[in-house]
Symmetry: D2
Subunit: 437 residues, 4 copies
């Protein structure tokens, strides 16, 4: 299973230091790299299957809104990615199915016209078992390439992007099936508590941390990924940002706190809301975070374990940017910028003793946190050439950055420089907020 340590190891293996490059060391290195890569590849790929395991074939078909993809679909385009960018142009490769190129191209316009996103729920074929065969065949071919050391440095880079891409789909598999099941009046659970992935992955944990402010001084700070190790193109280049002095909360806003906002009439008072948010509240009849229902005065929340009483001291989740921003205004504060968030998080890491992971985990592994920063290019940002260049840059419009990570984020996928982004009305991810002032 990937982890921070593994990432470091992987980095070393993928880009060995020149001093190691004599022949015998090289051979050892290649062999170690091959072993590692095969293990890493299978670990990531198998996690997707583990997520799909509790679902029936029927469950894997449904698309409950255009943003959501059917589970069966998630399993395919990640596989398509490896086939298209690593296998397709190689001698002797025979495509599993010629039609898949069109079907499972999520959004790469330069590869060909993608199948319309909002129609993914119309596809019952290929069925789940055929998708599984497709995965197996591609996985075997990739494994062979690794073992034969046929992947050059560029290929290995693509492999790594592909695995990170798969991890992103894994998070979406969980949030998408949650939305799908929530549309069923039977409110079926994805799995029972104790089974499978377990509640660590399913529910944000309550915390007994008392709310407090971390204070940070003004200054010219470095933000973004320094370039050593895997990162998406949108995290670079590392660059300087001038920050005024600011304070940021030591924990996220809780469900209990958010109920105070509701009870104070927060959803009915336009002065707390962005103009577009107020229109959204009215046209969609929004009265609480997504998945909340009130019965006899008590709040419940639909979860991957079915309908459950709301955990009052857990961070609020499934709120839109509009709700996060309105809450912050109502509370007399504001959302942090992404630079403030990143600087504070990096700063905290320096302060904490290594052994105490808990505050750090609470910081960024429970819910994604809306920042007030629209998603834009860092100064000097360059999209990659070709199809992979379509990965991030073309979405830099009408989306807000979220920082951190959530219970549904795949292990090892969280980085302090990681930039997630969604439109301001999106709620089906595990999205919450942290205050600043």
């Amino acid at each position: 299973m990937p982890s921070e340590t593994n990432h470091l190891l992987l980095e070393i293996l993928l880009n060995p230091h020149p001093s190691l490059r004599d022949d015998s060391q090289q051979t050892d290195l290649v062999s170690a790299r091959s072993d590692f890569l095969v293990d890493h590849f299978h670990a990531v790929r198998q996690r997707s299957l583990r997520i799909a395991a509790p679902l029936s074939p029927e469950d894997t078909v449904v698309q409950s809104m255009p943003d959501v993809s059917p589970t069966r679909w998630h399993l395919a385009p990640t596989t398509w990615f490896f086939e298209t960018f690593l296998l397709k142009d190689r001698d002797g490769h025979r495509p599993f199915n010629d039609d898949f190129e069109y079907l499972f191209n999520s959004y790469y316009n330069t590869v060909g016209k993608p199948f319309p996103r909002e129609r993914r729920g119309l596809l019952s074929r290929p069925g789940l078992s055929e998708v599984m065969e497709y995965r197996e065949q591609v996985d075997e071919a990739i494994q062979r390439l690794i073992e034969q050391d046929s992947l050059d440095a560029d290929d290995r880079r693509v492999l790594e992007i592909g695995l990170n891409h798969e991890q992103q789909h894994q998070e979406l598999m969980l949030t998408d099936i949650k939305h799908v099941l929530s549309c069923n009046p039977l409110l079926p659970a994805y799995e029972n508590p104790g089974d499978g992935l377990g509640s660590d992955v399913i529910d944000p944990k309550p915390s007994d941390v008392t709310a407090d402010w971390l204070e940070l001084d003004e200054g010219l700070e470095w933000i973004g990924h320094e370039g050593h190790g895997f990162h998406f193109d949108n995290e670079a280049p590392r660059h300087r940002v001038y920050l005024e002095a600011y304070s940021i909360a030591n924990r996220c806003v809780t469900n209990r706190e958010f109920i105070h906002f509701i009870e104070a009439g927060g959803y009915r008072r336009p002065e707390h809301w962005l103009s577009m948010g107020w229109s959204w509240v009215q046209s969609e009849d929004i009265e609480a975070p997504l998945y909340w229902t009130r019965r006899d005065g008590d709040w419940s929340q639909f979860t991957l374990h079915g309908l459950r009483p709301l955990a009052l001291d857990a961070p609020v989740s499934h709120v839109s940017y509009f709700e996060a921003d309105a809450y912050a205004r109502w509370a007399g504060h504001r959302l942090p910028t992404e630079a403030e968030w990143e600087h504070a998080r990096a700063n905290l890491e320096e302060r904490c003793p290594e052994t105490d992971a808990a505050p750090l985990g609470n910081w960024d592994q429970q819910v994604w946190q809306w920042t007030q920063s629209p998603y834009t290019a860092y100064p000097g940002y360059q999209t990659a050439a070709g199809a992979l260049g379509e990965y991030n840059g073309k979405f830099m419009c009408n989306q807000f950055v979220l920082r951190g990570g959530s219970v549904a984020t795949s292990p090892g996928h969280i980085r302090v420089t990681y930039r997630n982004f969604f439109p301001p009305e999106a709620r089906w991810q595990f999205t919450g907020l942290r205050l600043a002032k």
Copy 2:
């Protein structure tokens, strides 16, 4: 398998003549009736399973447009019908699942708020196997009731409605899955030619009948069902209609003839179209019947056997009322009224020797035929009391009557008085046309 003969037998058994009502005859009758009903019940119910048999669980989930229901869903509300109207209020009945009442109520507002039709494709649970169990449990209970002679005359009437209702769903299962599969770029076949239902049920047959006119005199004619034997409420009361002299075509318009209309620019000339039809052609970019595609000058049609060359001498199918009406105007003729259609069909039956079923079969078992008659109540029409009264009457608005039946109609379900109805833009049924003048 039901047939005209069986229908007659059924009618006798359900409503025995008073002269037969001494005790021993009664006992024999009850026993014969019970045997017949059990056989008939299972024959109808099993045909639904046979239609579903070639489909994967995934196939049974998809709803490709609001008019279409997922196959799995079709299997459930027919079952719900028997449970709700024959079992629910009986001592000792335990519902299979309390939530099904809400889920599978198709449109009976008086039974409770139905689950929104256009959201049926969001349901992955209950899964196909659970629906199958539900069917089995209800079927067993119904069989027990029949065998114990616990169904009174009203119950038997409901049972018969329920079986006719199931037959209607069987036709929809075929037309709906055809639409679902047509949305998949892989254009998968429902089954291979020769398998399962066979091409008699799948494809309208070419005919070598030369087009001719049947001429009918003016007169006051009886129309509608005379009341003896099963029929839906909208086929009654039988009543008189004055018809001017008219001519009606001896066969439906063929694909070959319809291609002439296309090649004459029929879809591009507003003078042939109803105002609303012309708007529809323009906004939906309609250029041919549904499921037609042209490659290199030749027309193909998506069928339940996959994409196949168009059979030029088969009746045109999958045209809307707008297209049928525009074709008729372009040809210098018109569509018949439903009274003209019914009178001509009844007249033909009298003329034909019993042994020659072929012209009759061609008349009404290939494609439904649009008439120019909006769907309205016959004089003196009464809706039934209670929930069953919602069956037909409340749809008498903005729909046109189709007469005949199609290759997909269940055996024994076609009657000369049968009134099918769809909105003028509907095309996913096997709908064609017969000219009149």
Copy 3:
């Protein structure tokens, strides 16, 4: 001002009996005809100006929904009709403005692509005064043609259609500006009571007639226009219809009666409604007829005189077909067919002494009355050749027939065979209902 008598006179003048056709009688006839036609032409044309008189230039621009046309627009296409069909192809005619051909073609696809109906409210030019000049110039040219006896029999027929067409626009001018003004929170009156057109034209009159049934026997009856005198193509051919015995109410349903329906929860009980009507009630939040508002328990109605207390004994108006049909079901009755309506109305005329016009006026000059008949072609119906053939036939889809006439209908425009038609959700006309059983 046209009247039934004038219509008869006009008919004689336009189609003189052959026995009158010697030379001197012809000359007298031509001269009398010319005088009559000029008077009649100006009487109709000036009524349009009288209707527009209370409005500001600003009022004449607004289109409050796609069905509504701006007043200024109504004044133009009637003029365009005379120019296009009587002047355009005549030697020496110079169009007032070449662009008007495109702008003011309401819906004749064969004349050229019409300007999109729903965008009429985007036009501020030509302004009101330019439209008035256009009218004057065309009117003078038409008057010249009449005086020079340059109109042949076909032309005179077109002239008559044009004047009837103008009268239809006159009714729409009143109902459209009523809708426009109702959208303004200031609720401005079109004119004050006592001014201008007067309340006879503005408000349906209360009636003290006690509700009763007229009973009519079954029989084969003639329906439709017999062909002598002006009528629209859709009123012909006259043909026989077999009617079962029926009863029809002697007056329309009143506001007071309709309030009972509301108070009995009529708008909240699906069992009274057509399926499509129930969807409409829910999606549009319908709770009362259009223009009704309740304040402190009392109902008011927006009228062309502004907001006024509801006249309880006046016929209910501004109800959709859905509401009319639901009311009739709730009351345990039904709407009449159009044949029943016409037969009863013709029958009543025979029974009434000539001097007693009041019951007849109450019958058909207060509100249009929804019938249960969809708008279809009479047997043997033929559309006229060319552009005028687009007048009525192409709208025979998803509309219901209304019979009678309303306070807003132009004098002399009502006929017992007249067929008005609107989609079932339309409410901005003065539409009410009469019960049958």
Copy 4:
């Protein structure tokens, strides 16, 4: 007429230096201030009337899309602003019309529910002349208050906001009526060249400046308004931003250059476009900037002078953010950030000799220039308390900042720190672009 000099004078008069505050100086000051304010107030107010002068009453009614307001409407809410925030709570004030409070509240939710923006085109009343009377009455009351020295410092601040608010509406009056007239197939001109406002205000001027880059060094720079003199809340607080070294074009992209983009297939190649922009191009069938049409190979542009040949060397205008961004990518460059734009503009001002206004004018008085910066709050931004706090902050979502000003911007309204903002698809303003790299 306001100008930079007048702004400075106004600032001194509104906020006199404490050293001037002895009695006699105070009296003089008050008197001078009063004279100045009355002149300034009328100058701004009368310019609105001058813009409306060429229009007919009919023209002032039309709303051609939700973003556009009718001219008559623009004249009212600016007046409502002065009445509501300066007159309403004063003793003896009688509102001109009680209903106007609801009608002309553009978007201040805290003042009361605003009349829905997209329904402004449904209002024909109050008519143009009534709106003019409303303006006169309010103007007289304001003038009296100024002359009586009844406005305190806060009031004077509100007055100044109101006048700037009116200037913003003046620009919208021009761009909105341009859109309204463009929807009319007659393509009427707002005025003839040489009349009224003149072509300086109507058409961006061609320029013979050769394209070149201005190069700027990296550094920590001050951005935003320093607080002395009028500015909107969103221009403050002044704060530091770290800029990497960059180059910015010395002039905007021209029509000629934009034609190269079109001819290179720019609108048909997804790789140049943001994902959302590509969807927009496809769904809206975008092929050129708004108002462009091609006839026989030559481009024309609809202008306030009617349809005119495209001025090839004028800056391209009426492009969306999507088009600006796609052009920049296609050209191998990018759009500047707003900080880069402001810093370069301020820098240029320092470099230019005072007497040479031309390059500065070309820089920011021809077309608004899209920046790549989403519209967000500056660090430490505070919205004003009460209704005026709704002015800018609540729109900080899904909009991009434009810098500069256009030919339609009112004289004296442009500032180097001015932040205009529109959604990325907006095109009806005079919007163009300047490249950066």
